[in-house]
């Protein structure tokens, strides 16, 4: 692994003045202070939207003609699976930005995204298994969709593990970013698995290119839940990123000033 870390740590650092604004945008201090202002509103929005979608989906939506009430698991299973995949893209893109522009904050976002994505993947797998029992008669089958989601979980775990495999934070960030980028190949496989292979898993309920395969009374609460999960994801990502900022910048003067100001005021 030595050749890799050597190669990875030898990046160019030619910061031209025209890019200064870009670096300021990625300043951990700026992000920490701004996100503190966004958090209460985002959290409130997430809570309201999730509560609405959950009550609507669980208590008011009509039941499925074939699956009965077990189909209601869709209202958490599909949003969780959505965010597990979107979260992977966010993590990989943050890693790419870190590799290309050496932006500190984006590596922190990447690190923060890994455990959130891993847990959402776990939720998608768990709710899928519980849904599978009454629907297919089995908690687990090794079909393409489920197996590729399990690989997603391992990819998240790999990114998390690599963060601790290096002494240098910089080398760990770069190695994680590369793994995250390579792993993106799994995302289209997850998406297409239900079309490419004969799977027990049902085909996609929602596609960007066509009308939903669901009645509107069932579809609307699902849409609300997906929006709610995106809002929740934003809250969780900001919280984890702020922590990572504090952890890495705790010796800097701005963090000290912040803590002193808080204690004084």
């Amino acid at each position: 692994m030595n050749w890799l870390s050597n190669k990875l740590s030898a990046g160019p650092s030619n910061e031209s003045p025209s890019w200064q604004w870009f670096y300021r945008l990625g300043s951990p201090r700026w992000f920490y202070l701004r996100s503190g202002q966004w958090l209460p509103w985002l959290s409130l929005a997430a809570l309201l939207v999730l509560a609405t979608g959950l009550v609507w989906g669980l208590a008011f939506a009509p039941e499925d003609a074939k699956q009965g009430n077990s189909f209601r698991i869709i209202y958490i299973h599909v949003p969780a699976a959505f965010l597990a995949q979107s979260g992977y893209f966010i993590m990989a893109i943050a890693g790419a930005i870190g590799l290309i522009w050496k932006m500190k904050i984006s590596y922190m976002v990447m690190k923060a995204a890994a455990p959130i994505g891993a847990l959402l993947t776990f939720v998608a797998l768990f709710t899928g298994a519980v849904w599978g029992k009454p629907t297919w008669g089995a908690y687990w089958v090794w079909d393409a969709r489920i197996t590729s989601m399990l690989i997603l979980l391992f990819l998240y775990a790999g990114v998390m593990a690599l963060q601790y495999a290096y002494h240098s934070v910089d080398a760990a960030s770069k190695a994680s970013a590369i793994l995250a980028l390579v792993g993106t190949v799994n995302i289209p496989i997850i998406n297409k698995s239900v079309d490419w292979w004969y799977t027990l898993h049902q085909p996609a309920t929602i596609k960007l290119t066509s009308a939903p395969s669901m009645h509107m009374d069932m579809f609307m609460p699902l849409l609300v839940m997906i929006v709610g999960f995106y809002l929740f994801y934003a809250v969780a990502l900001i919280l984890h990123t702020r922590n990572e900022i504090l952890r890495r910048e705790r010796k800097t003067s701005w963090v000290r000033e912040l803590v002193t100001a808080k204690a004084g005021g």
Binding site: A61, N69, S70, R72, L120, T127, V235, H240, R242, K262
Partner: protein
């Protein structure tokens, strides 16, 4: 409501156990994703204020000894 009463909502024609287990595990996981960073943030902020306190104590002690030396 789609169901006739609260008991029917809980039971969901026998599927309630699957639906509510999924909901409980999902909500617990989501709650954890929000609470865990808040707990460790508190710890980090405490650590920073301890660092500041320690530095102030050191500076104070240094001042005292230098004052002491001057008076001699």
């Amino acid at each position: 409501m789609y169901f006739d009463n609260f008991a029917a909502l809980i039971n969901m024609d026998g599927h309630g156990v699957y639906v509510w287990t999924s909901v409980a595990v999902t909500l617990a996981t989501m709650l954890w994703l929000v609470i865990a960073p808040l707990i460790s943030q508190r710890g980090l902020l405490k650590e920073v204020s301890r660092d500041i306190q320690r530095q102030q104590d050191r500076e104070l002690a240094a001042k005292k000894t230098s004052n002491h030396e001057e008076s001699h």
